[in-house]
Symmetry: C2
Subunit: 223 residues, 2 copies
DNA sequence: ACAACCGTTCGACGTCCCTCGAAGCGTCCG
DNA sequence: CGGACGCTTCGAGGGACGTCGAACGGTTGT
């Protein structure tokens, strides 16, 4: 493995597109990256093997998903050094308007069907403090939590093999956030009632005034 | 020209060897680089075209020579970023003992058959101050300079179409240094008398105690 | 149990590009 | 002027690699 080999890992449009997509610090799945770059899944698989074996990307496997992220801060610097010399700046738009957009992603976003970002962690903290949620090694919903959901008009999910409460790694916050059936139901409810709305067609979410009111009413400081 | 294309420029062993060789800040000719990388001159030509067109290297043509150097500080950073991720560090020895070696090269070295580096510039300055040398747009040797050479035991070169005094670009100092027949004769004399000796088999030179004495005797502060 | 989905392996196809030698052009030196 | 040298262009050969579709194993959710 010499210098030319490392450069060769980034000397392909598809692999470069993967790395640029991963610059936002989030973890992507292999299929997401394949769709983003416009190649077949099998093609993405071989590329991802090269990038992981070469030490540029790190992987974490959860069930049938394979999450990928940039391995190292040195890799970030390498990609930035390359971008600084590429006249056609496909990544440059980020620096203009999308530093704010990246902040929005870090604040609140969709992670498949549930909420991620800094906001999702405050939800967990508030729910744990009010005794609605068990967190830690054996997460679950308490009786109070079930009643709380019913009060919100959310049917407590059941009849599925999907766990009610699950921890999902949050790559921007480096802490797990709320997934599982309850996480999905909460997120779905927040979107249908307009507490949260998507920013354009991206995964980024923003909290509406109605969302702030609901937060105060249902998760605000205890009396 | 996108990110993958820039990476592709360095994704070849030969081109990577060129760039690593040029890391010392000196200018190399195309043939030197070809010999250093072990490829045919025609191969080197095509690679150098790619690197120059891609903006990684800059060229300067002098007569039949083509001098190449790293174009930009951003290119230096890119190469260093790549080297930081390459486990097989062919360039790493530089950082250990050869930061001192690089300083030695910047101080005094051979440029073909004459002297280059910081020492060569002090020679010019001292010779100009003593009226031995005309420098600037029309460089040449003065009558006093010719007498000074004879006094040193150096025959004033003649009978050749090679100019007596010529300016040669010094890439570490960004100033021209003394070349031409006089530059070569002075350098040859300094090496044969032991004023200068080569460091190992490299082009780097070091000034001996005898060299310092000779400097004081022949170019020292005027009375 | 069954369907849907994610990821993987494999073989085949096509393309890109790295390499060299021979021939040629311009410059420098005697 | 004639020889030496540095560099370039051109064509041909050959190896490396990116791409896809089809088939398969494993996990998730109904």
């Amino acid at each position: 493995m010499d210098l030319a080999a490392v450069a060769g890992l980034l000397a392909d449009r598809t692999r470069a597109a993967f790395c640029l997509a991963l610059l936002d610090g989030r973890a992507w799945t292999a299929s997401e990256l394949a769709r983003h770059a416009g190649v077949a899944r099998s093609t993405a698989t071989s590329h991802l093997h090269l990038l992981v074996d070469g030490g540029l990307l790190a992987e974490e496997r959860h069930g049938r998903h394979r999450y990928l992220r940039v391995a190292d801060h040195r890799v970030l610097e390498l990609i930035e050094s390359l971008a600084a010399l590429a006249p056609r700046q496909t990544v440059r738009p980020r620096s203009l308007s999308a530093s704010g957009r990246q902040q929005a992603l870090a604040r609140a976003r969709l992670c498949y069907d549930h909420l991620a970002g800094a906001v999702s962690l405050t939800v967990i903290d508030a729910m744990v403090e009010r005794g609605l949620l068990r967190w830690g090694p054996d997460p679950g919903l308490t009786h109070e939590g079930a009643a709380w959901l019913t009060e919100l008009g959310i049917a407590v999910p059941s009849g599925s093999r999907r766990p009610l409460v699950r921890a999902c790694l949050d790559w921007t916050e480096r802490r797990p956030h709320l997934a599982g059936a309850v996480g999905a139901a909460l997120c779905d409810h927040a979107l249908t009632t307009g507490w949260l709305v998507r920013i354009g067609t991206t995964r980024a979410l923003t909290v509406t005034p109605a969302g702030r009111r609901a937060w105060h009413d249902h998760l605000g400081p205890r009396p």
